[in-house]
């Protein structure tokens, strides 16, 4: 079994009842960790690099109000890159080109209001310079982060609700 990052971030003691419940579904624990690897450091990298993926993950965790998860992804970024740090914090770097600005807008938009997305919003990513594989990889990264945030929120709730 892989390390269970979500248990660690939720601060579940190994002997706790909730840790035992979680361990009864190794498919879910390992599955989430394998998915994290696939969206943050995939074997087939379609054009979005690990540093940017980590910064976008931190940005989405923060948009969901989860600073603890944001810090986890910030730790995977090169520490001395001011542009990535700004992206992780939710900003738009001044030097960002059209492609990067389109990525940041889309990440924020689909995290907060997926139901408002239209064909134009998705096609615009291509006209702003993303390849089709990059658009798909970005959608998977956005989807994963929004999944992970909700599992962590539920672990917090179950841990804290007597």
């Amino acid at each position: 079994m892989n390390a269970d990052v979500l248990n660690t971030l939720a601060g579940l003691a190994p002997e706790s009842e909730l840790a035992a419940i979680r361990a009864r579904r190794p498919e879910f624990v390992d599955g989430a960790e394998n998915c994290r690897a696939a969206v943050i450091e995939p074997k087939v990298d379609v054009g979005l690099g690990l540093p940017l993926r980590s910064a976008l993950a931190a940005r989405m965790a923060r948009l969901n109000g989860d600073e603890r998860l944001a810090a986890h992804y910030r730790a995977g970024m090169p520490g001395d890159d001011a542009e990535l740090a700004l992206i992780a914090d939710g900003g738009f770097p001044q030097g960002a080109d059209r492609r990067l600005r389109a990525i940041l807008r889309h990440v924020d938009f689909i995290t907060v209001a997926p139901r408002a997305c239209t064909r134009n919003d998705t096609e615009r990513l291509v006209t702003e310079g993303l390849t089709v594989p990059e658009v798909v990889a970005l959608a998977e990264l956005i989807g994963f982060l929004n999944f992970e945030v909700r599992i962590l929120a539920t672990l917090d709730l179950l841990r804290d609700t007597p």
Partner: protein
């Protein structure tokens, strides 16, 4: 809830906005990825679209199948209800239609889905269904806003913490699936 009148129970067809992988042009990784399909279905345009990013497709589909079909724990139908509620919040008409049908097939209960589609998520329901809808709705919005009262209501209806975690997984994996299906294509 708004715009529920767009939602359907009948089978819809999903059409991608961007060109899917053509089998003839696929890399070995993409061909291997396309062997794995949600609920062992066919190689649809959806699968071929997601095969552009083969690693995430394979790992997510495995996790999806485990969350929806693994044995024990929360009843299958109630996982489908979690999927339906998330899909309503995220505006994914396609996922909502598929999982509304699965819920009806498993339970014979058409009334719950009809009520959601006609009146939204906040109409009267059995206390157990009510507790499930309220939790999945709160969990699915951004940022997620599920509170201790939601957990207490689920426990009062007989769900133990393992069941609640199963339910959260079904709603959360649809937060992911909806962000693919609804943003990469449309259904009719």
């Amino acid at each position: 809830m708004t715009e529920m009148s767009n939602f359907k129970v009948k089978a819809l067809t999903w059409h991608p906005y961007l060109p899917p992988v053509e089998i003839a042009d696929a890399t070995p990784e993409q061909l291997a990825a396309m062997q794995i399909t949600p609920s062992s279905g066919k190689v649809s345009p959806y699968v071929r679209t997601l095969a552009h990013d083969p690693d995430s497709y394979v790992t997510r589909t495995q996790l999806f199948n485990d969350i929806m079909y693994v044995k024990g724990g929360l009843d299958r139908a109630e996982r489908e209800l979690g999927a339906l509620i998330a899909s309503c919040i995220n505006g994914c008409v396609y996922c909502a239609s598929v999982h509304a049908r699965r819920f009806i097939e498993l339970t014979g209960n058409t009334e719950t889905v009809e009520r959601i589609y006609r009146f939204g998520l906040h109409e009267t329901e059995s206390p157990r269904v009510r507790a499930i809808i309220d939790f999945c709705e709160a969990l699915s919005i951004t940022p997620p806003s599920a509170r201790p009262e939601h957990v207490t209501a689920l426990r009062e209806q007989g769900l133990d913490d393992a069941d609640i975690l199963d339910l959260a997984h079904s709603a959360a994996i649809f937060g992911w699936a909806n962000r693919l299906m609804h943003t990469l294509g449309h259904s009719r």
